[in-house]
């Protein structure tokens, strides 16, 4: 159906994602483009970049063009017992591009599941992330980690080392982790476990059994195990290098990759810590799909700009030309009327009002 409307690649994906999310009972949430700047100033670490476009509203309040959707949704959702709000969105956000250093408008889709979130909801959102990837590309991988496992190990080493260790783990820098373990013999046990996490690879079952042997945080491991079992094993991997946003995420976190795009196109996880920071009791999980990064992947250049060029000259009767164009259009072709076709215009056929038809 999406093909019929001549949609761009990202729009087609947005279309598919929306119908996927709504089949799980997610309601679309239309937001204002602006938000009070204060919301972002208080949660700067949550944002990908701290640069925000701001302006003063008519009443003197400092406003911002949305750099992020999650914070607005979290703020607007009320705490509720025994119930879950399922919200999805497709919105433009405004961020600084790391390559050009200038602001860009970025199309983002995603969903948030907020409220009495239990294991079932966690599994559901993780598999929705996997399904989102599948709807973008046949060749995709969801990488998944559990912050609880990493954090329980980081808590065993001094605060001064923790950021260095976290940075090395997120870069899969096994050499640096090994050196850290050698230089800090007192903490060699948690440090060598973290080095193992950086190297861990294999099928989900293999990784899970390796983790059991390592005596990592049992509660987190069992949660990760349950969630991993509900995912398609061929399209997932356990990956402990996902560490950004540790101040906000607490449970599972994940990234999604599709072949042909060099960076993650999906990013998300369970963010109860953010909820507490925003004085909410509920638990929450969600993810975002970066549609802008798919621009190149989904680019399908049509062979022709237009089906038919209807060539007319100044002497032709306007009504005859317009009617002829409409007649061709009615047969399902696209038509452009021109006195002389542009050299760069690619068309299937040329119809000359002078009466001659050329192929």
């Amino acid at each position: 159906m999406a093909e019929k409307y001549n949609l761009k690649g990202e729009e087609k994906v947005l279309f598919k994602l929306r119908s996927l999310y709504s089949s799980f009972g997610y309601k679309t949430y239309k937001m204002s483009r602006f938000e009070e700047y204060d919301l972002y100033a208080r949660n700067k670490d949550f944002l990908v970049s701290s640069n925000i476009i701001t302006f003063t509203d008519t009443d003197g309040k400092l406003m911002a063009l949305k750099p992020d959707v999650t914070l607005s949704i979290v703020r607007s959702v009320r705490d509720q017992n025994n119930s879950v709000s399922r919200i999805c969105y497709g919105e433009n956000v405004y961020r600084v591009s790391s390559s050009s250093g200038t602001f860009r408008e970025i199309m983002q889709a995603g969903l948030e599941c907020i409220g009495d979130v239990g294991l079932l909801e966690l599994c559901e959102v993780a598999s929705l992330a996997q399904m989102s990837l599948t709807s973008i590309s046949k060749n995709s991988i969801l990488t998944i980690s559990h912050i609880g496992i990493v954090e329980s190990l980081l808590n065993q080493i001094p605060d001064i080392l923790a950021p260095i260790v976290a940075k090395a783990l997120s870069a899969r820098n096994v050499s640096a982790l090994g050196a850290l373990a050698d230089n800090n013999p007192y903490y060699s046990e948690p440090l060598s476990k973290i080095a193992k996490l950086a190297m861990i690879s294999g099928s989900t079952d293999e990784v899970l059994s390796q983790l059991s042997d390592m005596y990592v945080d049992e509660k987190s491991l069992s949660e990760l195990r349950t969630i991993a079992k509900t995912l398609d094993p061929k399209r997932m991997r356990i990956d402990f290098s996902i560490l950004d946003g540790m101040k906000y995420y607490n449970g599972i976190v994940f990234r999604g990759y599709v072949q042909g795009v060099p960076s993650a196109v999906i990013s998300g996880g369970q963010y109860d810590k953010l909820m507490r920071r925003m004085k909410k009791r509920s638990r929450a999980i969600g993810f975002a799909v970066y549609l802008d990064s798919l621009e190149r992947l989904l680019e399908d250049v049509p062979d022709y700009d237009v089906d038919t060029v209807l060539k007319y000259s100044d002497g032709d009767d306007i009504n005859v030309v317009l009617n002829k164009a409409q007649e061709i259009r009615n047969s399902g072709k696209s038509v452009v009327t021109l006195k002389e076709p542009d050299m760069n215009l690619r068309y299937r056929e040329l119809v000359d009002m002078g009466g001659k038809d050329n192929a």
Partner: protein, 209 residues
């Protein structure tokens, strides 16, 4: 096919021999040709030579699946990549150097000339020192000699250039060596090949110990 970006120059040639010794060679890579891309269908690798400071860009953007970049480049540009192996070659240090008779006056803003603005900024921020960065693209040693800067932040290998210009190392910021880096998506989609190369090179590094 695994795309590998190598830094042009001595370091790249040395690292290439490590690839070759681990069974990922490609004939004519080290030849005198002006070609930029070399492919070996049999081993499934494609090498290309790029400017050393560009390797991280090629890898981050996925044009190369893996590459070899100095730790200095990685820390300066902070690309979103995996840093999977320390190749323990191309070793040098990132240093603060100044004229031999330089005495730091903590009362004034320190003028720092460097090619590595981000590394210098982070280093002095960690010390809480206010600095004025003078970004240069080469011949950094000239800046303190002419009195344009108080110190320089630069890579020091042997220290000969410093000595010949009347400068000396005052502080070591960090040790530098060549690293094998990997694109995050390639690490997932070409994992088998990437891990094979990492393992092969790891054996080379251990053998060189």
């Amino acid at each position: 096919m695994l795309n590998i970006a190598l830094p042009k120059g001595r370091l790249g040639e040395k690292v290439y021999t490590m690839f070759e010794a681990s069974g990922f060679g490609c004939p004519e890579v080290l030849g005198d040709s002006r070609k930029l891309v070399f492919e070996n269908q049999a081993t499934g690798v494609r090498f290309f030579w790029v400017k050393p400071s560009d390797v991280a860009v090629y890898v981050e953007r996925g044009a190369a699946d893996i590459g070899v970049a100095g730790k200095d480049i990685i820390d300066e540009y902070m690309p979103d990549i995996y840093e999977v192996l320390d190749l323990k070659t191309g070793k040098c240090r990132m240093c603060v150097a100044a004229k031999k008779d330089f005495r730091d006056n903590a009362d004034v803003t320190l003028r720092v000339a460097t090619k590595f603005s981000n590394i210098a900024r982070r280093y002095y921020a960690s010390l809480g020192r206010e600095i004025d960065i003078i970004h240069l693209n080469g011949s950094i040693e000239l800046a303190p000699v002419l009195g344009m800067s108080d110190v320089i932040v630069d890579i020091v290998e042997t220290g000969t250039t410093l000595k010949e210009n009347g400068l000396e190392v005052k502080e070591t910021i960090m040790p530098i060596s060549a690293r094998l880096i990997a694109n995050k998506a390639s690490y997932e989609f070409k994992r088998k090949d990437v891990l094979k190369v990492i393992e092969g090179l790891r054996r080379q590094v251990e053998a060189d110990k």
